[in-house]
Symmetry: C2
Subunit: 147 residues, 2 copies
DNA sequence: ATCATTAATATAGCATGCTATATATCATTG
DNA sequence: CAATGATATATAGCATGCTATATTAATGAT
């Protein structure tokens, strides 16, 4: 009647996330960026000059977490925070040239981690895995439905 | 040609792990234990008096991480570290009465989180999800094959 | 037995995530 | 327009995880 961790989705997800994070960190270490910085840049490569609030929503992390990540990215010369001309409370987050140049190598590194991780799955299994994950996320996600 | 995070196993896993952790924390908050403490107790409920090294191996976290978690658990009155009679370098980790009493309520809370998370999946999908997760973990896991 | 190596834990320092709270600015309303 | 409430960001404090290094004790080789 014991709790079997190998049958616990939460336990397995935690374990897997740590393994992925470790691999990713290794794969992008030579670019001198960390996983959370990479995640943030994913959004900024797609659209530069977003506000902190927009990034918070897209990455589904707390505002305080994003503020700290951005502070480290600014320290590391990846972004600059510029005043928002239309609202003095907020700022626009702009990638530096250095950060822009990282898009190719960083996304390639991340892509190869995914390939390595899923290497033992068939094409159908991979699709199913992603689909199941998205469905469980949707179930747990705390209603990101408001405006 | 952009990196699509909704198709990245690593990204989705990270997101899902944060959602699970948040739910678990909520569900066990009233027991005054934190997720990592719960994970550690899972092993100690199964077998009390283990060494730190044994816990490190079973939970697949770094030794320093476990040392810190155990320090917090000791601070919170969940465990006691006692000298190992056969090896003065190591210690035996013993659950307190307080920690022993938490097994029922804590495993129930964790179980219901899993149920909630997987509520939208069929029985077959749930089994597949766990299986896929175990397979990807096995692929990424850095050879825990030594003695 | 002694010296070098290995092994078990601890500590320092950092990144990422969280909650709770503070601050500044905007928007609304009387 | 002044007061109030909402919004955007920052900061404090903590847990969990990591790497790197220190400390202490056991082992092994000479």
């Amino acid at each position: 009647m014991e709790f079997d961790k190998s049958k616990s989705a939460g336990y397995l997800t935690n374990h897997l996330a740590r393994l992925f994070a470790s691999e990713l960190q290794n794969a992008i270490r030579h670019l001198e960026i960390a996983p959370a910085q990479f995640m943030t840049m994913l959004e900024l490569w797609r659209e530069d000059g977003q506000t902190q609030k927009a990034l918070v929503k897209k990455l589904d992390v707390e505002q305080a977490t994003m503020a700290n990540t951005l502070t480290r990215m600014e320290r590391d010369g990846l972004i600059r925070r510029k005043p928002n001309p239309t609202d003095a409370r907020s700022q626009q987050i702009w990638l530096t040239q250095k950060a822009k140049k990282l898009e190719g190598p960083a996304t390639e590194a991340a892509g190869s981690i995914n390939n390595i991780a899923l290497a033992d799955l068939s094409e159908a299994d991979r699709a199913q895995f992603l689909d199941l994950m998205r469905r469980v996320i949707a179930t747990l996600q705390p209603e990101t439905r408001d405006a």
